[in-house]
Symmetry: C2
Subunit: 791 residues, 2 copies
């Protein structure tokens, strides 16, 4: 059973805890209690092994394509967390014997995992165990573990096998060639392995230190090796109340490490340096290393971008910290060649690939909270232009057609082409997303715009941003199809955000976003022609500009229907059959509709998997197109009501958008409900949802729901709006956003809003239709009525 | 706890049983209770999973080299034996709840594995389980399983997940590219995978059939898929005393199947045909398929070459059946391109590679019991000439230098070049066997001679045998090194059978066997020049013959020392330090000497790993060189006493040879003790010895100890000798051997021997120094004294 919080004292609302062990529900705590630092992600598997465990260690950017018929993915690196423990010869396992006072918890404040309990072996010996673990935020290569054991009653013979195990696979797929293993100074185990296609060297080091009753001991240790494994076997006799501490410090380095890219790389040097690093850590030990790690989290994370909520529900504060915790753990701030996968570094799901999830659901947090990190993520996409250009060319288009799934920037499209077999017909199902889910290119252009608009970072624009927007605009211009009957450009045969519908024509989201992409390119081109003629020349935009204008003018943009202001999701959606969706709207598991209808039937029903047209409203609202009459307040409300009723939220990307939209249109209770559902995707009581990894996009969505939704922050066309609409049970919300490089501290209640511009540069913003300027600090009383009204 | 026998009634002495379950000792029953038919070997893992299990299915000949830095090995094929069973939601596992009346047993008569017990779940529901399984001896591709469940007390909700799992690896090494999966007719699961280097297609099919109280039921079944997996999920409600039967029939076919080699191979056709085959099996069901399988074992195995012992120790009869059982299960009688690995098809150990184990320890059984199978094994070596010639050439020699480890015949040498790292120095240890353990070539020449001598199979000789002997002789002639000081040819820098000694000069075994090989080639050449001049011409032996003669005459052959008749094992052995070996001679585990001495120190001690010089005596005794005064009866005794005292039997290849030699020289009690130790290598109480697989050579050694040792059968230079020396506690021994194509039935007690030539052709043989001729049947009284004396 997962509990939201068990906080006491200073750690109140910082703890995510599991108070009962179940060998049938290991995936939950493994994923939601993940430890990570952007360089690596380590699932919080238990030290002692269980059949259903998924031990994963992923190192960002180390993609490998194991076989010609596989797609590239993050390989599961060698494991150091497993300890094989025996008590008087009996295997230690919580499935055996009796366990009391069990608690496994992630302390998000310190980013430390602990697990403690009393365990009585089948033979009746009782021991007290406490395990601690962290992945250092200060030393990116370090995994530190500590085990404390005390025998409560008897003399006990304890044996521990611990080392490095490189027999790990990705569900049976082995990515590594076996390399050398060594044991230096009789203690420091080193294991090398190399990915079989991308030829990335991994160097793993590990060392143990044992203390008995505070004194270092040199236990009887056998060294042993097997294929792809090396380990130590310790035998220790414990008398009652002896206190044994086993510390295990491990490092992992790879030849992709960016600190190595300068200079000439040599495996021998990496081996020597990484071993030297571990020897340094060994001198310090767990506790001292932890103190440095803890301070790094305090300083770089909680001191920098905490969000504080006063709510009647403690889970709300916890969920926002959960969001910030995971957003931090997943962010590869150390390397602009790396992105964030759909499951971040927390599971094999989606193979470590980046989707539009990053730009639309995760990046906004970084743009507003850590612009440097946001720039790194966008630079990853800039490096991806090579792959995007290749994809465009392969498909007969111009410019940059971004891959639906992206791995190493130059890989291009890495979406698997074939999915599971239709188990009835025996035919393999084709995965169409890599071919026709094309809105990703416009989504990235939107992200560039959003970044530029909020940060004002000209340097990035000149180095990367303009090129990304021009190249995606070129793609769209070449992609549009002339429809002679309608005398319009159409975009046929696509998948929109609603993946229930394949091979549709004129998906409103896709068409409008393509239009935005073209208009954005023209806007930037105008800017260059006025301010940077040398860049205008460099890009050679003359012909393209004319092309964009002609295409944009004649591109078909689905309009709100006269009768009810509903924008058709695509050419046929509004003509499809309607069924009673109540059963599926109330589902506790996703995809229940598939129990009654197959994919083909669903294609013919007015049912939507996830925010599609509504997402368009949400995005356009942040652009210079927001004044367009198509996206009027009335249309927004009409479309929300129409599509929310037809949306099953069968994607983790959906709920947060609907929460924000519900908040925007004043549906406060629904907004809060959708927010809580967003939190529950990973933190909720369903023990199976996170088995394949956490949902990076919905974790970004938790933060977005609060800041864009309840706080009503919206940034468009150089203008800042803040229209708070706190949920009824929230008394106060405090957080910081960066606007044009300056942190703004916001502190809002139902009654008033306090805004502070730390750097003291004046900022203009709009609240409740009134424009204010904050110089250093400003308090604005909020008309309760107004705080509920729409923008 | 493994018991030798628990036989009752007609299955007395046919059962190998385990009467208590231990999750810490799974490897024992998995390996010693292996099911196999020469085409495949299936470890007898338990249906429900355990952490320490090793699920293995090996298909003979399907070698694959997964990565450039690996050696080729038999890949672990997809698994069908695992069933994930839940009782009222609780995982079924013998580690949980309570188990009563447990017994797991291999019925060797019917080659069927069964397992039964009553299990009470942690929640207190008691069920009776019975599992049965066989690998068909009639349908080589078929694995049949049956599970019977009865709820003894309560209503129970049973769920079973079962299918095909291709996530299997060889200790982390994945050999397969993922292929297609299909489910035909909603029931027949098909999974295809292909080895990543050798490009061998594997087609797995599986189907389930359920019966409740005798009636076929169509249970609620979900079909599910994951990466490299496909399975069915059954949910069944059992009332008290409902009797559920789940039958699971599976097939495996590969593109290496010899029945496919004719005609054009197509994967689609193999898929269709294999599915058709399974549909046929499905119509028959487990019981009918079992009956056909049982009869095949009765007819082809027990009716053909049973060995019957009347002994005070029931285990002796059981051990001989154990030997015949495994020799049958490992023999790839269906394909002469395939050999027998050191662990046969029972584990990952030695990677499925063939060593001299086959020719010296396994082949004799087949030559005397199933000459057709023996010919197939030798033909495998004949096909291996290509690889052996390549190895000779690579090493600068002529003729055929057989690989120390052989996989697919044309692969050549496949011994790993690098072994585990010396964990202290960090250096990788080089495995020298592939370079300098060269006696294998002479061992194979010996095997050809033994086969020819016993079977008189001229056709094989003309097609294969002569060429193998000539080519190996050419190798030796080119390999000898002229020593100018001694005016002799030497063989320096080798490893003999005693692998404790590396890089030695003039290993007596190697030199004498090389000499035998040269002399054998000359003998066959003489024969051809007289009887088959056309073959003499074809082989063009003129120059080689002269070379062989010159080399053989001047090859240094270590002589018995004048003072004690001991032949020096190599140039330095007799000068090495002597230590008290009592501690290691009495070891219960192998390699205990390594706890006190390292490899370099052992190299300097008069200690021998395994039969070396004594093996030479045993082999020469079966050749035309046996009259050589070096191998006198006195020398044999002297060398036995000298080397037996210094041999630690740290190889499973050692004990049987010493048992035979002890029997030969009249050391009856020691002979019997060594025989029992030979049996215990796999059948004994040490639960860890067989984890990596059974020991194919020592299993051949069990039979050899009885027939060559206790029955005193020896066949040399066209002459048959039979000098029985039954152990004191054996009253009677009956068995059949083939001599020149005719079966001879032998039935011996301490008092007399009955010999019957079934085909009625007269056979001359020698017993106790007297020559007899048996026409149809003959009874010879044995002087008890004589039966104890030596030849």
């Amino acid at each position: 059973m997962m509990n939201y919080s068990l906080g006491k004292g200073s750690y109140k609302d910082w703890l995510l805890a599991e108070t009962a062990f179940s060998a049938d529900a290991l995936g939950k705590s493994e994923a939601v209690m993940l430890l990570g630092n952007g360089y690596m992600g380590l699932r919080s598997d238990n030290e002692e092994p269980y059949l259903a465990e998924r031990r994963n260690l992923f190192i960002n950017g180390t993609f490998n394509k194991a076989e010609a018929n596989e797609v590239t993915e993050l390989p599961n690196a060698a494991n150091v967390t497993r300890l094989d423990i025996r008590v008087d010869g009996e295997r230690f396992s919580l499935e055996l014997g009796e366990t009391n006072d069990y608690i496994k918890q992630l302390n998000m404040k310190d980013a430390e995992l602990t697990r403690s309990f009393d365990w009585t072996s089948p033979k009746g010996k009782t021991l007290r165990f406490r395990f601690s673990r962290f992945v250092s935020f200060d030393e990116l290569h370090l995994i530190a573990m500590k085990m404390e054991v005390e025998s409560l009653s008897h003399d006990v013979a304890l044996s521990i096998d611990s080392g490095i195990n490189a027999q790990m696979t990705n569900s049976g797929v082995q990515h590594f060639k076996e390399g050398e293993r060594r044991i230096a100074d009789g203690r420091f185990i080193q294991l090398v392995q190399t990915t079989n296609e991308s030829a990335i060297d991994f160097v793993h080091n590990t060392v143990h230190a044992l203390k008995l009753n505070g004194e270092k001991i040199t236990a009887q240790a056998d060294k042993d090796m097997a294929r792809r494994k090396a380990w130590m076997s310790y035998d220790i006799e414990l008398r009652p109340h002896d206190h044994l501490v086993v510390e295990k410090l491990s490092t992992v380095h790879t030849s992709k490490d960016s600190d190595l890219n300068s200079g000439t790389y040599s495996l021998e040097q990496l081996r020597a340096e990484s071993l030297g690093q571990l020897k340094g850590h060994d001198v310090l030990g767990y506790d001292a290393l932890f103190e440095v790690h803890r301070r790094a989290w305090q300083q770089k994370v909680w001191g920098a971008y905490n969000v504080e909520v006063e709510s009647s529900e403690a889970v709300d504060q916890l969920a926002l910290r959960f969001s910030l915790y995971h957003l931090t753990a997943m962010m590869p701030a150390h390397d602009e060649q790396m992105g964030i996968g759909a499951k971040a570094l927390s599971g094999e799901g989606y193979k470590g690939h980046s989707f539009w999830d990053t730009e639309i659901f995760i990046l906004p947090f970084f743009i507003l909270s850590n612009p440097q990190a946001a720039k790194s993520l966008l630079t990853y996409r800039y490096h991806g232009l090579a792959g995007a250009r290749k994809k465009a060319q392969d498909n007969g288009y111009r410019g940059a057609m971004y891959p639906w799934e992206m791995a190493w920037p130059t890989d291009g499209e890495v979406t698997p082409v074939w999915g599971d077999i239709d188990i009835v017909t025996g035919e393999q199902t084709k995965i169409w997303s890599g071919f026709i889910e094309q809105h990703i290119s416009a989504d990235i252009a939107f992200a560039v715009y959003q970044y530029e608009n909020i940060t004002g970072d000209r340097q990035f624009m000149e180095r990367c941003g303009y090129e990304m927007v021009f190249e995606t605009a070129k793609f769209w211009a070449s992609r549009l199809e002339w429809n002679d009957a309608h005398r319009q450009y159409h975009i046929n045969h696509v998948i929109g955000p609603d993946e229930y519908k394949e091979h549709i024509n004129n998906n409103a989201f896709t068409n409008h976003m393509a239009y935005f992409n073209l208009k954005l390119a023209m806007r930037y081109a105008d800017k260059l022609s006025q301010e940077h003629t040398e860049l205008w020349e460099t890009f050679g935009l003359e012909a393209d500009y004319a092309d964009w204008r002609e295409k944009a003018e004649r591109l078909y943009l689905p309009e709100p229907r006269a009768e009810d202001l509903v924008i058709p999701q695509d050419d046929t959606y509004l003509q499809l059959t309607e069924i009673d969706l109540a059963k599926y709207k109330n589902q506790t598991k996703v995809r229940t509709i598939y129990r009654d209808y197959n994919a083909e039937q669903i294609n013919g029903i007015q049912v939507t998997k996830q925010a599609d047209t509504l997402l368009l409203f949400y995005l356009i609202d942040q652009t210079f197109l927001r004044g367009d009459r198509r996206f009027s307040e009335a249309a927004k409300k009409a479309n929300f009501r129409y599509y929310e009723a037809r949306t099953l939220h069968d994607s983790s990307l959906s709920l947060a958008t609907h929460a924000i939209m519900a908040s925007d249109i004043g549906e406060r209770e629904l907004a809060y409900k959708l927010f809580r559902q967003t939190c529950d995707i990973d933190m909720g009581p369903d023990m199976k949802t996170s088995d394949e990894g956490i949902h990076a996009a919905s974790i970004g969505g938790i933060w977005k729901s609060a800041v864009f939704g309840f706080a009503g922050v919206r940034l468009a066309d150089g203008k800042l709006r803040i229209n708070p609409r706190l949920p009824k049970n929230w008394q106060r919300l405090r957080f910081t956003v960066y606007w044009q490089g300056q942190p703004l501290q916001l502190d809002m209640t139902h009654e008033s809003m306090d805004i502070e511009a730390s750097a003291g540069r004046p900022v203009e913003f709009e609240t409740g239709g009134t424009v204010y300027t904050v110089d250093r600090r400003l308090n604005i009383p909020l008309n309760h009525q107004q705080s509920l009204s729409s923008t």
